[in-house]
Every structure is written in C-alpha cells, then in structure tokens.
Symmetry: C4
Subunit: 279 residues, 4 copies
Amino acid sequence: MPRNSLRHHLYIIIFGSHTKAGRAFDLALIVAIVSSLIVLLLESIPSIRSVWGAQLKYLEYTFTALFTIEYILRLYCSPKPSAYAKSFYGVVDLLAILPTYLAFFFPSAAFMGVIRALRIMRIFRVLKLVRYLQDSNLLLRSLLMARRKIFIFFSTVAILVTIFGALIYVIEGPKNGFTSIPQSIYWAIVTITTVGYGDLIPQTALGKAIASVTMLLGYSILAVPTGIITAELNQEMNSHKSLVKCPNCSQSGHEADALYCKHCGSELADPDKRVVAEE
Amino acid sequence: MPRNSLRHHLYIIIFGSHTKAGRAFDLALIVAIVSSLIVLLLESIPSIRSVWGAQLKYLEYTFTALFTIEYILRLYCSPKPSAYAKSFYGVVDLLAILPTYLAFFFPSAAFMGVIRALRIMRIFRVLKLVRYLQDSNLLLRSLLMARRKIFIFFSTVAILVTIFGALIYVIEGPKNGFTSIPQSIYWAIVTITTVGYGDLIPQTALGKAIASVTMLLGYSILAVPTGIITAELNQEMNSHKSLVKCPNCSQSGHEADALYCKHCGSELADPDKRVVAEE
Amino acid sequence: MPRNSLRHHLYIIIFGSHTKAGRAFDLALIVAIVSSLIVLLLESIPSIRSVWGAQLKYLEYTFTALFTIEYILRLYCSPKPSAYAKSFYGVVDLLAILPTYLAFFFPSAAFMGVIRALRIMRIFRVLKLVRYLQDSNLLLRSLLMARRKIFIFFSTVAILVTIFGALIYVIEGPKNGFTSIPQSIYWAIVTITTVGYGDLIPQTALGKAIASVTMLLGYSILAVPTGIITAELNQEMNSHKSLVKCPNCSQSGHEADALYCKHCGSELADPDKRVVAEE
Amino acid sequence: MPRNSLRHHLYIIIFGSHTKAGRAFDLALIVAIVSSLIVLLLESIPSIRSVWGAQLKYLEYTFTALFTIEYILRLYCSPKPSAYAKSFYGVVDLLAILPTYLAFFFPSAAFMGVIRALRIMRIFRVLKLVRYLQDSNLLLRSLLMARRKIFIFFSTVAILVTIFGALIYVIEGPKNGFTSIPQSIYWAIVTITTVGYGDLIPQTALGKAIASVTMLLGYSILAVPTGIITAELNQEMNSHKSLVKCPNCSQSGHEADALYCKHCGSELADPDKRVVAEE
C-alpha cells in the first residue's frame, strides 16, 4: 500500500489515533455510538415512541447510514479487508448495522433491532487508544491467571445449587411454588447469590432451615473468588512493582528504595529522580 | 492380582485415566452422568412429564442399568472391594442407583428419586484426572488452614442472628408476622446475609432501626471471611511461588529473579530459561 | 484462700478447665445452656406452646434453678465475689436467670423472658478453654488495628444514606411510600447494603436512576471494609509468620526457609525439624 | 492581618482547633449540626409535624440564624473571604442556610428544604481536626491509585447491564413488566448488584436462565473491585510500614526487626525502643 495513497490516509485516520484527524474521527465515532444508543433506549419507551416514533426512526436510519459508510471505508482502507471482516470488531461493526436493514426489509424481524445494543461494545474499540488499557491488561492478566481457580469455584457453585435445588423441591414441592427441579435450581441461584427476589419462598420449617443454610453458604463462599482475584492481583502488582533498570547490567526488579543493583552491585540512580514505569 | 488378568485390565480402564481406553471410559461416564441428570430435571417439569413421562422413565431405567453394571464392575475389579464400597465415592455410586430400585419396588418411596441428583457428585470422581486438581488443592488447603477462623466467624454469626432474632420478636411480635423466635431467627439470617426476600418485614420504627443495624452488620462482617480466605491464599501462593531448584544444593524457595542460590551461593539457571513449576 | 478448702476445689472445677472434673462441668454447662435455648425457641412457637406449654415451663424452671445454683456457687468460690458480679460474664450470668424470676413474680413482665436469649453468650465463657482462642485473638487484633478505618467507612455510609434518603424523599414523596426522611433513610440502608426487601420501591424514572446509583455505590464500597480487614489480617499474619528462635541470640522473625540467623549469623535448626509455633 | 486583632482571634477560634476555645467552638458546631439534622428528620414525619410543626419550625429558624451568623463570621475573619466563599466547604456552608430563606420568601420552594440534609457534610469540616484523618488519607490515596481500575470496572458493569437489559427486554417483553429498555436496564442493575427488590421478575424459562447468568456474574465480579482496593491498600500500607530512620544516613524503609541500616550499614536503634511512626 503506497504511503501517500488515499487508502493509506484513510487508514491512518480511521484505524489510527496518533494524528489530529484520527483523534477527531474517534471522538465523532464515540458521539455517534452513544447517540444511537440513546435513540435505541428512547425508542423502546412506549410513551416516547407514540409521540416521537417517526423522528427517532429517521435518526436511527441516519446513524445506520453513517455506520454503513464507516464499515465500507474500513473494508476499503484495511490492508487485509477479509481479516478485518472476520475479526471480533469487524463482526461487531457488522452486527451494529445489520438489524436495521433486516427490520427494514423484513418487518417481522423488528425484534432483532435490540441487537443494536451491541453497539455499546464498539466503544471498546475507540477506548483502546487511552492509556487506561494498561490497567485493563493488568486486570485481564489476573483473571487469566486465576481462570482455573474461577472454573473450580463455578463448578462448586453449580453442584451446590443442583443439590440444594433438588432438596428444596422434595421438601417444599409444587404446592409452595417449587413446581420443578429447574425452577428450584433457579430459586437456589437467587438465594445463594443473595439476590433474594422473594418470588419463590420456602413455607415449611424444614424448607426455611435449608434456605438458611443456602444463604449462609452463599454469603461466605463469596469470599473465595474475592480471595482468588485479590491474591492474583497482589502477585501481578508486586511482580511489576519496580521497573527500575540498572545502568550497568540493564536488569530490573529492584526494590523501590534500593541503592545498589542486586544483580551486579552497580550503584542505581537516585530513588527520587529515577523514573519508575507507572503501573 | 496378576498384571495381565481381565480384572487388572478392567481396573486400569475404570479407575485409571492414563490409557486411551481409560480416558474414553471417563468421557463416556461424564456423558452418562450429565444425560441422566438432564433426564431427572426434565422429568420434574409437569408439562414435559405429562407428554414424555414414559420415555423419560425408560431412559432413567437404562441409565440405572448402566450405572449398576459399572458399580458391579468396580466392585469386581477393585483390589479391595469392601474398601471401595465404604469409600466416599463408593457410597455416592451406590446412592446414584439405589433410589430407582427403591421407587420401582416401593412406589411410595418415589420422592426419594431426587437423591439421584447426588449423581452430580460423581462428576468430581471423573474430574480428578484433569490438572485443575492442583488449583483445587491450593483452595482446599487455604480453607483447611483457615478452618478455625471460619468456625469462629460462623459462631459469631450464629450468636448475632439469635440475639437479633429474639430482639425483633419482642419488638415486632406475632401481629407483624414474627410468629416465633425460630421464625425471627430465619428473618435475621435472611437479613444479615443481605438476601432480603421481603416476606418478613419490620413494620414499626424501632423494628426498622434494628433491621438497619442487622443489615449494616451483615454488610460489613462479610469482610471478615473474605479477609481470612484472601490472607490464607496469599500465604499459600507465596510459599509456593518459586519452585526453582538450585543445581548445586537442590534447594528451592528462591525469588523469581535471584541469580545465586540463597542457601549455598551457587549460580542458578538463567531466570528466562529456567522452568518454574507452574502453580 | 487455703488450697485444700472446698471453696478452692469448687473454684478449680467451676472456673478452671484443666482438671477432668472441670472439663466435665464445662461440658454439662454447654448441654444445659443449649437445652435451655432450645426450650426458649420451642416455647415461642404457638402450636408447640399450646400443647407442651406446661412441660416447657417446668423445664425452664429447672434450668433457671440450675443456673441459679451455679451463679451462687460462682459467687461463693470466687476469690473476689464482687469483681465477678461486676464482670461482663457475671452480668450475663445474672441476666440469664433474672427474667424467669421477674416473669414469675410480675406476670406482666413476661415479654422480658426473651432476654434469656442472651444465654447464648454464656457459651463464649465455656469456649474460652479451646485453643480456637488464638485465632480469635488474631481476628480481634486485626479488627482493633482497623477500627479507625472502619469508623471512617461507617461515617461515610451514614452520610451517604442520609443524602440519598433525602434525595429519594424529595423525588418519590409520600405518595410512593416514602412517607418521611427517616423512612427514606431506611430505604437507602436496605438498598446500599444490597438487602433489597422490596417493600419500598422507587416508582418514577428519576427515582429509579437515584436507586441505581445507590445500588452500584453500595455494591462497590463493600470493597473498602473487605480491603481494610484483608490488609490488616495480612499484616498480622506476616508479623507472626515465623516464630523460629535463633539458638544463639534467641531472636525470632526469620523467614521459613532461612538457614542462618539474620540477627547474629548463627546457624538455625534444620527447617524440616524445627518447631514453628502454630498460628 | 495583625496578630492581636479581633479578626485574627476569631480566625483562630473558628477555623483552628488547637486552642481550648477552638475545640469548644468545634464541639458546639457538631451539636448544632446534629440537632438541626434531627429537627429536619422529625419535621418530615407527618404525625410529628402535625403536632409539633410550629415548634420545629422555630427551632429550624434558630439554627439557620446561628449558621448565618457563623457564615458571616467566617467571611469576616477569613484572610481571603472570596476564596473561602468559593471553596467546597464555603459552598456547603451557604447551601446549609440558603434553603430556609428561600422557603421563607418563596413558600412554593419548600421542597428545597431537603437540601438542608447536606448539612451533614459540614461534619466533615469539624472532623478534620481529629487524627482519624491520617487513615482517611490512606484510604483516599488507595482509591486514587485505583481510580483507573475502578473506572474500567464500572465501564464493564455499564456495558454488561446494557446488554443483559436489552436481552431480557426481548425475551420477557412488556407483558411481563419489562416495558422498555431503560426499565430493563434498571432490572439488570437491581439483579447484578444482588439487591433483588422483586418488583420486576422474569416469568419465562429463558428469562430465568438469563437472570441466573446475570446473578452469578454480579455475584462474582464483586470480587474485582474488592481485589483492586485490597491490593492497593496492601501496597500503601507496606510502603508506609516502617518509618524507622537510620541515625547515620537518615534513610527509612527498614524492616520492622532490622538491626542494621540497609543503606549504609550503621546500627539502628533497638527495635523495642525505637518509635515507629504510627499508621
């Protein structure tokens, strides 16, 4: 792709964020995404739709037209259009415009319009430019490190709600609203997560005892995922704590107040002046 | 037990998971367990039972037959059948098949069929093969280390709900639904765990004040088990952080970026190349 | 007090727990306390009281008589009876027997019988003998260390519920159930602690927006007390981590795998054999 | 400003807290603030207002007069009156008296009286004198350090509730109470924060499945902010752990039991006698 072609300029503006035009494009895109989401929310409120329905529909068509042009431009200026189209954001970009066309040509598919809510995920694309990403990576890395422990936790919760759901089904039974085991498992989830809607409530003394155990269990096992995430975050933050480099051997990992390199013994820069890579 | 006998081969397949046949058996068992659980769930839904009741019953008989054969084979090929029968998993395996036979011969015992939900615990047996176990052990060890602190926490919660339950019983009384102290303790548990069904609600101003204290207490003492688990997990993870072994004295426990053995001073392998035993 | 007097023997049995008779007394006391609590709970259930009321009353009189004898014996054998009577447990012991006498002589004071629920606190006295106390001390010490941070947290919550309660009172008003500011503050507490009874619910769009902010706030500030307790527990556990003493200079605080005393350089006992004082 | 003028004396009393008169003024102010808040709460209860309405109104006028005098004195004795008037506490002080005047002159603005609840924020001003501030700073600093991670967490929650709200709106629809997407997002917030009022409840099987996922998600992502705050608090507390200074090189950061300065090797003061700056 020649460096001075229109395609390359478009690429810099649409995909990049280091030029002034690129940042202006990103800002315009955020405004468009948020506005189209507000239109979607307003359109779903009956009292507003009955008065402003037509105007909101035209606004929605305008946004869809804009997003369609943007999608075509992205396809056009992308060095590998097919790779973009198949990427996560490529699919989200397509899902953001498709429902309006479907609802236009097949009115019976109007309910699919809600898929437009996925537009909110497009905001991530734009936010990638900000430096918040570094912290986001730290959080993601902690979650990834903890993924097996989290899987074990969820398996345990799944087994607990199945057993407590089956128990309450036998004890309370259909006459108290526990009409089936899946329904009773739903109750167990509502109870163990301490949500407690109150639509299904044990009526018998034994049922209330079982419910009490479920609540106390849910209340305290919450400590486990918290402990897992905290411990992983602690580890991650410690391992990245100090990125001071030794001027002699270029190795890092020194304590924040160390004066001498722990690897080769050379004197380090003055702790107050040295630039520590920010977390 | 001779190494080439049928019993030994069966033992390798049924109890082991290192051979291809063993893994295939484990996979088939997981499929059977999950399928039989789905049958149990579907059977409990009235609208499905009225239409597919007979078919589901036959499926259930098939699964019970399969699990019975498996149980007999386990007894047969186990080096110590009585030890297996008395072990935790032996009892679970028996409980997984017994209810169907009981319901068949004593129709009045049909409600016991729900015990079949315990089949979900059999999944643990099969999952033992995966490497997730290592993390599971870390979690279990942390819980065991913290068991006395957790016992103290639960005793405190038990005492708090008794006192707050008795208090609200005196203040609100039977006319507002708090018909007895056990019922009021149930309310205190629902409130202190922040479940809040809304079936029992204080009506008087004083009752609402007591309820507010209960909520704030429940809201904040949740911090205690979380702190306990987190601190234990931190300790466990730190004590296992580095499993790097010194090539000279074979001792471990070095910091991740140490270059020299802290026990004998020998040079360690290059930090980037050395294999750190994964947590 | 002469060592062989009856008073001294009684003191050893009643207050101590190192002799066989002392442990037997403690066990009998636990059984009596728990039984009397069960009687109290059963007595409060209308359907049971109407049938077994008289029997339960006689049981209650028996327990009160036993506890009265115990109280008199404690007063008799205590080296300083007045100090015992004024101590925390002395008051609890008295409160455990007083209500029954009051209800006997002044039937109108029957509602005070619930104070008997405080008997549950007597269990603490007996439990003091077990070694769980050490962990209890660790927890208490952490809470004490964090008391100022916890006070700040509760002040912040108090200010938040006042402001959000006043806000929702203005927005929703008496017509939607928010009849007064105290009532609205009660709603704010129910919401910020994520209990959510559902008895008071915002009806207007603006009220729901305020409620959403309250929920998200309550959901996330829960992280603060947890963080405080966890950090304090971590500190406490680390500072007590290693109680290995140097054989030369008798100082402790060595890392679990240290071979040489970090204070004087003497060789420490073999890590695998040395006895680390258990937490 | 001359040191012995009336203005300077007033400044010392009103803004300072190191003199006896200053502390007395602070105490009087706390009493006045809390009393005026109690008057505000009582005035909002219909049954009390109908009986004591006039008296409460006169009390309110008295407090407003007192706070007005205080505000004028603060303006008078402040070295830079305009800076005070524009400061955060200056605005809060003004908002604490303005509503009463507005309600007096424009009776239709009576609803603004609730702004008086902001008076509770004035308590912060007075509390600044206590040493609790140091811990408050530690908490604030941790929150500030974690602000970007907290922002990412809230963005994730916002995106999750939008997507789950849109999903439940399509699945349940207006006939089950989910009348619009904003209403459904409100349900998602109520569910994900585990508040669970129970005013909006999924009725269909698919809706209950979606609700279960929302609950489990909300239940477990609570672990993330807790982990963030805890890890930051840990870091903050560790970095301030030891403020022991070396008598030779005046540097701090030594471990609590270190005997020799880790920077220059000089002997440190005896650990048991040295004063560690309290956290």
